[in-house]
Symmetry: C2
Subunit: 726 residues, 2 copies
């Protein structure tokens, strides 16, 4: 259970989430003390099931996961209203699909996710960060194999010439067939298993299956072409001649590989080391879909960890620190047997040889910790091993961190063992050795056959040229030496030819062969590479779904609101504990409150303060007093100096302001009220519990800073400053 607790450190370190969850899921978890039993029990208490395509539905049922069918729509509505993200150039009718802009809230959220990524990986693991160009000369991606192999298979409508992804068409054709109730059980099962591996079929297999199932082009119903490959890279021309081709990189990794020698030097020739890169990558998707999940331009955060050595590859110095992290695994075997996802510690998984390398296992655990840190629900997270057929051309072993969303399980992080593939290829093509020089722990004895030379005779015959002859002789192996000696005639000579010279050897010059031993201290090798690769946009979208919450729909919180219903339209009253003033304020607040705000659905993003777009909203209840304006502005400047993001909300009824603040996932709100002018105290409200405490204004900036980096929890704060009760 210690390990299980570790997984939940997001909740543990941010107890307000804990208290929210205690009404529903986490309570069950605590009671049963077992994750598996927990997952089972949640499914019995829910009434809705996600409806999505059959394959995903299959998998999700196996994982016993459920989701609110309204969730995706609700998140999209709020994402649009708060401008979290939007389609690029949406005002223009000739915009294109698969491109998204991040608005202010999305941008802040993304920056905070990346900031934590930098801290969690680059700073804590002491990695080199680099930034290579997006425009990549053709030679780089030809060497890496992307020009030849980075492709999807497509078909087109033979009449309209419109294009479609072949595997998508196969999936959709199968989905249509499955709706036929008369289908035999055997056929249904066959179709389902074909659908599950649609994206790993070869071109020929796709062709065969599309023909067998008589697939037609969607929309038009026309006949389709034979499937053919389409390279997913965007290409462009560099310079005005039109002769220099370049690509927009499809991954950031190659930039690190071509700079390997410089990075190794910066690490003073030592292994292991890791280089990280955060940046854009591009894929020319044939038919982009699923919002932020399948786009043509996306941000990646990649790590290339260069392992110590083939012989020592199982070693990562910090593995012990993560070995008890509890994780969900879907290994190749589990998938092939169609068995249930397995839950165990990463240490156990490594012991069972489910994972190929300790370094890979280490990063899988670190990935799980990162994702749960920022707020990904650990119950909707699993690690799935790639099937042999779906592995990228460079990969030796590969696991995806998959997160469950309304689109089903989506790949958000790829963790690949790329072996030595890339470094060897770039070495070979560029002629620059990308290798590491290492010393043997103890000098190694190497045996070599050498000729026994009569140096007297050789020296007398060839003079200064003897040295070149000796070098040539030393370069021959046993067989060559034996042949040479045998070829020397009793009378006369045989010619030994080198690049620059010709030696006529006679009998007696080489008398035999001996075995020599030599001490070797150094060797060179190409390090193997473990690559964790994060899709930031996908993680951000999953985080939106996992953080989304409708306050009124949660029965426990709804009850709390019912008890304390004045809060919604009249939260300001709670700030004041003097009864006389309270009634006066209530009146005022009611006057300005929008009567409709009681029935509005109140959506909340329960972001951790670690990633919340805004840490603190500042509310002034008295707006026309210049003293108050002065106080709030001064307070805000202090927060800015401490790099705490804040928003100033000065219009509308207090209930509406809170609704706006909650909808944007702002962690805390501080309120300046009449009492502030009297005793220099302000209140702070926690978003999820709506609890408030009153604190001297001077202490607040520091408290907010500590809350925002999880150095202080809301529960701790409540211990020091008593809760304001209604």
């Amino acid at each position: 259970t210690q390990a299980a607790i570790r997984i939940f450190r997001t909740f543990a370190s941010f107890p307000t989430q804990l208290s929210l969850l205690s009404h529903s899921r986490l309570n069950l978890f605590t009671k049963t003390s077992s994750w598996r039993r927990f997952i089972r029990s949640t499914t019995t208490s829910t009434t809705t099931r996600m409806t999505t395509n059959s394959e995903v539905d299959d998998r999700s049922r196996k994982a016993q996961l459920v989701t609110n069918p309204q969730l995706r729509h609700q998140v999209e509505v709020v994402a649009s209203r708060c401008f979290i993200y939007a389609q690029t150039a949406s005002i223009h009718s000739s915009r294109v699909a698969g491109l998204f802009d991040y608005g202010p809230m999305g941008c802040k959220l993304k920056n905070n996710i990346l900031q934590h990524w930098r801290n969690h990986f680059i700073l804590e693991e002491d990695m080199f960060e680099v930034e290579c160009t997006v425009l990549t000369p053709e030679i780089v991606l030809r060497t890496s194999g992307h020009v030849e192999k980075f492709e999807d298979t497509m078909i087109h409508d033979v009449e309209t010439l419109k294009c479609y992804r072949a595997d998508h068409l196969l999936e959709e054709t199968i989905d249509k067939l499955l709706t036929n109730p008369k289908l035999s059980e055997a056929k249904r099962s066959n179709l389902k298993s074909l659908r599950a591996k649609a994206d790993s079929l070869s071109i020929d297999e796709l062709h065969e299956n599309l023909q067998t199932l008589q697939a037609k082009f969607p929309e038009t119903g026309n006949a389709i072409s034979k499937p053919y490959p389409f390279n997913l890279m965007f290409s462009t021309q560099i310079g005005p001649t039109g002769k220099t081709r370049a690509f927009l990189r499809p991954e950031t990794a190659q930039g690190i590989f071509v700079n390997f020698q410089k990075l190794l030097e910066e690490n003073r020739g030592q292994l292991p080391f890791a280089a990280a890169q955060i940046g854009l990558a591009f894929r020319n998707e044939i038919s982009p879909r699923s919002g932020l999940l399948r786009v043509r331009e996306f941000q990646m955060a990649e790590i290339e960890h260069f392992c110590v050595d083939e012989k020592d590859e199982d070693y990562h110095p910090k593995f012990e620190s993560v070995q008890n992290v509890q994780m969900c695994f879907r290994s190749q075997k589990v998938q092939e047997m169609n068995a249930e996802t397995v839950e165990m510690t990463v240490g156990e998984a490594l012991q069972q040889k489910m994972i190929s390398k300790q370094t890979l296992a280490y990063y899988m655990a670190r990935t799980q910790l990162f994702l749960t840190d920022i707020g990904i629900d650990p119950f909707r997270l699993r690690f799935r091993q790639h099937l042999k057929s779906e592995m990228a051309h460079y990969a030796k072993d590969c696991w995806d961190a998959e997160i469950f969303t309304s689109y089903g399980w989506i790949e958000c992080v790829g963790l690949a063992d790329r072996a030595c593939y890339d470094l060897e290829r770039h070495s070979e093509v560029s002629g620059t050795p990308l290798v590491v020089h290492a010393k043997y722990p103890e000098p190694k004895i190497v045996e070599q056959f050498k000729p026994i030379v009569n140096f007297g005779l050789v020296g007398k015959t060839f003079g200064k040229r003897s040295k070149a002859l000796k070098e040539k002789l030393d370069s021959l192996n046993k067989q060559e030496l034996e042949a040479l000696i045998a070829s020397i005639p009793e009378e006369g000579s045989v010619d030994l030819v080198t690049c620059d010279d010709r030696f006529s050897l006679v009998k007696g010059m080489i008398t035999g062969i001996k075995l020599e031993q030599k001490k070797v201290h150094e060797y060179t090798f190409t390090p193997s590479v473990v690559e964790p690769s994060f899709g930031i946009g996908r993680i951000l979208y999953a985080l939106l779904e996992h953080s989304f919450w409708v306050r009124d729909e949660s029965p426990a919180v709804a009850a709390a609101i019912a008890e304390n219903s004045s809060e919604v339209t009249n939260a300001s009253a709670a700030n004041d504990i003097k009864p006389a003033k309270k009634s006066k304020k209530s009146k005022k607040a009611k006057k300005t409150a929008n009567p409709k705000s009681d029935v509005v659905i109140r959506t909340v993003f329960k972001f951790s303060p670690l990633v919340a777009p805004t840490t603190c909203a500042i509310i002034a209840l008295i707006t026309k007093d210049p003293k108050m304006t002065d106080l709030t502005l001064k307070f805000r400047r202090k927060l800015t100096k401490l790099r705490i993001s804040s928003s100033l909300d000065s219009s509308g009824a207090i209930g509406r302001r809170y609704a706006r603040i909650d909808e944007r996932g702002t962690s805390f709100s501080v309120t300046f009220d009449k009492r502030t002018l009297e005793d220099q105290t302000i209140t702070i409200r926690e978003r999820d519990t709506m609890e408030q405490v009153r604190i001297p204004i001077d202490e607040m900036p520091n408290i907010l800073q500590r809350l925002s980096v999880l150095d202080l929890s809301w529960d701790d704060l409540k211990q020091t400053y008593p809760l304001i009760r209604n």
Copy 2:
């Protein structure tokens, strides 16, 4: 002088730089108390002059600026050795020009510059940050005018078809002609003035001048083609059909313009507001040159500030806070008169109407503060107004912040008044109104001619249709109404046709026209835009040159080193104040010290702690004691938790380690020595002064954090903890 002091806040807040400079330039400044006199006096005390192309040389002479001719080469050598940046894919022979990767040190430096940019602009000015896609649909850049107008003029060799920029060829042709000593003074002067405006000539003017001067293609000497335009944008195809064209954005601004309506909504319909974007932009340079200064892929940080209103445009609420900032201006007038750069406060420049808008002036001052904050030398910084002929197609007024480097004055920040150009264009093409609704301070009276209608007769005749008739009549202007009334015959009727109906009007229905007055409360307008646009790569390169310093070559410091020469190879001795132990250590250090380190040139980057790639180097003098290893690792973890970047340097002689640390511009070094194990204290060394103090180990992390954000200066620290003296 208060203003002048403000400019120097980098130095003031980081006194160690002050003390370094006091030996040379800043001393002169203090004595004369005048910036201009200061600049003059420095030129007399130097012996070397920058040699570069004549035009830049001209300008730099006018500005009385000098630079070490070795500087560029030296910076490039260190940049390569420390992997600050390197050409993309440099290991491959078919790499392309104009692309650069940032290594670990360059990446950290750039991240810190951007972090300060975010704090200085986005956080302090409360801007919206957005992140739009690099891939931009054609419609966006066609609307903005880039598809038609964003181009350079090029020529090609008529035989080899190789390309070259026409203005570069003209410049180089003139440079060659100017080397002729027999050239008349008049001709020389003409050529020089032609050269100065080469990049603002039209295609026809370029053609004429290239013909007149009989320009030939460089290298081959062949005849050249007529000049023709080349669009600088990289284009690509989206999707598999090959029909959807897109470009890599040449600026980040358009992404903000097309999202204007969403951002305005996020600001609740209010002006002014500003949106900022940090991201990549691309220009397909014809002949890239000058290292990091003219590249094909570069990072920009742009702000679009939407001004209040045409009538109030001169107003920026925070202008007062910067009005006394002292700056160097080269206005259009100054350039046309070939006069000297003018120095005054930004307030004075605005009063003289040198700058078009208060908002533009505000951002110019904020830009100067940002650049000097991060370490750009204020003496090598000026603001140059664009000539009418070189202004971009969208600009109404434009100033460049130019920084003096070994390449001459280079444009690093563009500050443009783009007026309403972009919003109006996107509005027009997309059909989406990109406007602001504003209320008049007092309702406005608008006069309108209305028909006098006999409603009894109309109602009786048309019944419910009367309403539509009334609307139609109200939409007619005075002339149309008069014509209509005149057309109604005495007997019979005339037909008035609307979209959905036809009304037969007879005499008596409309009896005349009256003038009506109406109160109007609201109006709509398109806000004008001020755009500060930062080229981060150029600023970074200028910062490298301005921060570069060879310790041994500065006479004052050289003298200091000479006095205290043991420091170089044996700095460790200084850590220990007990004589007995000192000698013992010196011996040990000498044994491992490389005897060559005394003669090596010691280069230093004197970065401010605000941007230094690494804040603190950790040095352990005793490497084999596990207690010591434990202490240093624990200390490092504490720094990591506080987000302080550190490096652990555990090999080589102490002098060599310091050399490595200085070369990388690491601000401070802390050393764990034998005494640390006894009394839990460590020493901290300041890079530029090489001064050291000893501090309890527990206090150090906090002190380092305060030093790194300039909340504490080295001078302050010396007050609390006495200097260690040798």
